[in-house]
Symmetry: C2
Subunit: 237 residues, 2 copies
């Protein structure tokens, strides 16, 4: 039954903007749509990454926690892994890496995932601190974030690429989280100087977009005054 051509998405990036941060899917349900993924917890509770069916959270203290099946998320992606090796890279900058991936993938008009296992130099990540009801906007909530740096870390970068026309629904371009091999460092990737390692690639034909229709606040929210694209680019950039 597992469909490796489909990227599953729960919620939209847009709903985070006005602070619709209720957890509206359980990790158990998210894992039923994939063994690989990224997301954030209720109230922007840290940065999540699912690798080989195991979900990890990097919290705002920098701790890496195993995530239980009742943990809930407002926004997340998952898919069933079927990566093929695409590139080997050696001390390549993030910009050059993205260019090489984009050129090799030739998939800018569809969704795909990239997984990079290797050594990252001078990497900077962040994890947002969980907030509680009443939630503030994404911009306000994301002010309470911790930034983590490391000179060198061996780990796995998991990234999803979304076509520009889906910007706001998803994160247009690349959206990347990291987990170290030692499970002691990770988060939403802000920058790194270089990486050496193996780049794998998996293309999708389908986006399965699930919306939190059982959430009264989401369903009743008037998005017409939210400045979706500017705010998400400030917060996710």
């Amino acid at each position: 039954m597992s469909n490796t051509n489909t990227l599953y998405q729960h919620g939209t990036l847009a709903l985070l903007v006005p602070g619709l941060l209720d957890g509206t899917i359980t990790m158990k349900d998210l894992l039923s749509h994939g063994d690989t993924g990224i997301g954030t917890g209720e109230g922007l509770d840290g940065e999540l990454i699912i690798l080989d069916g195991t979900p990890y959270q990097v919290d705002s203290h920098g701790n890496v926690n195993l995530v239980d099946s009742n943990f809930t998320l407002p926004f997340a992606n998952s898919h069933f892994a079927d990566y093929a090796e695409m590139l080997e890279v050696e001390d390549i900058s993030r910009n050059n890496l993205q260019k090489q991936i984009t050129d090799a993938a030739k998939s800018s008009n569809t969704f795909y995932s990239v997984k990079i296992t290797g050594t990252f130099k001078n990497i900077k990540t962040r994890a947002v601190q969980k907030s509680s009801q009443p939630y503030q906007s994404l911009a306000k909530t994301a002010e309470n974030q911790s930034i983590f740096t490391k000179d060198s870390v061996e780990g796995t970068l998991l990234s999803y690429y979304s076509p520009a026309i889906f910007d706001g629904v998803a994160v247009g371009g690349f959206h990347s989280h990291l987990m170290s091999d030692e499970h002691d460092f990770g988060g939403h990737i802000l920058s790194f100087e270089s990486v050496s390692g193996v780049v794998s690639f998996q293309q999708f034909d389908n986006l399965e977009q699930h919306l939190p229709t059982d959430n009264k606040e989401y369903m009743e929210h008037d998005f017409s005054n939210d400045n979706i694209l500017d705010d998400v680019h400030n917060a996710e950039g």
Copy 2:
């Protein structure tokens, strides 16, 4: 296996803008995702509507044709019908109808379908004339359209509503096609003065968005210079 909570979409509204009009899904495949739907044929070949599992085309001569399973489409929606009666309306204008539906549905942040069976007064529809390779832009192609009017027609309006954040991916707001009970009049609805009849409603939790990843022209197209939202609103308005 049929999932009445999911709206299936093949292609995007955006890909029509630069004239990526190859048929990239067969009617047979589209029908495997639903017994109800709307779309257009390769080269913008008329206006399609699927009712109770039967696909009809209104071509640019105003003829209503049964569509065979090998017919291909660049852009289409389908779903498995499970409507519930929502409203009865009597001589209501299109604007008032949309307001009543929006107020009753309370579903502006998710996808839904509306089906209206009744009598439409002073209705105006259009059907685009099929163009061939090399295709021109949506705006140019849609100039070759026929407009049909009728003082009074008994028929079925099938409409899909998409949330604003999906504008460009789908048709933001309502997108409506019509088929007369006599199967002698229909098309993409431009306007009507009033309608009397029964309004049925079906809400979706999921959008299953399929992209034509096997189509080289789609995959290689550079969308960055296309003025997607302006052009689709001119053509679909």
